[in-house]
Amino acid sequence: MMVGGFVSAGTPTNLIHALKRRGTRGLTAIANNIGFGDQLDVLCEQGQIAHMIASFAIRASTSKWSRFEEQYHRGEVTLELVPQGTLVERIRAGGAGLGGVLTRTGLDTVVEEGKRRIEVRGVDYLLETPLRADVALIQAHRADRLGNLVYRASGRNFNPLMATAADLVIAEVSEIVETGELDPETVGTPAVYVDRIVRCDPVEVRLEGL
C-alpha cells in the first residue's frame, strides 16, 4: 500500500487508524516517512508492516526510537531507503505507464547498488523502476461526490502522485460537497483516479520535527 503525507502535512491519519483497527498484517508500505511526526508508526504496534519503502525511516542518532525503528533494529521488518525525489518519480512512473525514470540522484552511493547505469548524451544516470500498489491511502482537503479532490497547502506532497499508482485509491477528506461545487481550476486530483472517499474530522497531530 501507498500512504500519502509528509510528516504532519497531508497524512491520512484516520485511514491509518482504521487499518490498525482492522488488523491487516504482512503489509508492504510505501510512504515518505514513518515514525517522524506521522502516525503510520501505530501500524507497528501489532507488527502489521513487514516491509517498508521510504525516504525517512531511521534516525542517525539513537536518542529516541519509533516503534518501526525498534522493529527494524531487531530485524523484524525490512526497509528499502529511497531518495525522496526518486521515490516520487518511481510512483509517478508507476501511475503514468512509464517503464522507469533516469536520475543522477544516488550515483556513486549505496543507492546505486544493483541498478543499471545508463549514459544519455554523455551524462550518467541510474535507472529507477516504477512503483505501484494494491491500495493507496491518501488525504485531501475537499472532495465532490464524483471523487475530484482539492488539496490544501503542503498537504499535497505525495498524495496526487499516489492517487495515480494504485488499483484502489481511498481518500480521506475533511469535507464532501455536491458534484459541480468544486471550482475545476482548483482540482488537484481528477475523479478518474479516486475509488473511495471517506469524510473524517482531522486528527490532532503533535508537533514533532525530524
Binding site: 504532519s8 525511516a57 542517525a60 525522496q84 544516488g106 552511493t109 497547502a153 503542503s154 525530524l210
Partner: protein, 219 residues
Amino acid sequence: MAGLTRELIALRVARELRDGMVVNLGIGIPTLVSNYLPPDHGVLLQAENGILGYGAIREDGGFDPDLINAGGQPIVLRPGASFFHTSDSFGMIRGGHVDAAVLGALEVSARGDLANWSIPERGGGSIGGGMDLAVGVRRLIVAMEHTTHDGRPRILERCGYPLTARACVDLLVTNLAVIEVAADGLLLREVAPGVTPEEVEAATAAPLRRAPDLREMAL
C-alpha cells in the same frame, strides 16, 4: 577555540544568500538560516514538501499541520508563496531551478564529497531529499560543526561514512571557518573571531590552503 554558536553559523550562511535566489534549507543548523534573513529580504525559500516562498519559523505557538518546513517545523508564508506536489518540488531541485541549498554534514572530503545521512555504527540514517539536493542545486553550502563532539575532524581527505553525493559541496561554513571547495582543493577564506588559521588547520584532516585575502568573519 569555541568559535561560533549554531545561531552564528546560520547568520554567516544567511550572508551568502542574495535577493532573487531560490534556496532550500536542510534540517538542523540550516533550518535556522530562515530566521537570520533581513525582514525585507528577496530570497525565495523552497521547502521540498512543496512550498516556495515561506518565511521564518513560527514562534507564536500556533501550528497548522499543512504549513511546515522540511524539518516538520511550523512556518509562515510570505507574499508570493506557492504550493506544489512532491514531483514538481523535486523537478525544481533536480532540474537546476534551485540556486542554492544549505545542508548539514557528518563529513566533507577535500574534493567536496558529502556524507550527511548515515552513521553505520549507530545502525541507521535516512536519505530524505538530501541526495536529490546534492546533485540538483547550482550551489551547495554546508553548515556544520567543524569537528565531532569528541573533537575528531569532519573535513577529511575522503569520507568514511556513506556518501550523499560526490564532488557536490561548494562552500563550508563551520563554527571555526569559511572554506571554499575550489577546483584544486580546499581554500581557507575566513576564520571565526578569536580563532587562528593554525587552529583551523589543526582541526581539519585535509590539505587546506590559505586564501591571499584570508580574513576574520564579519558577523
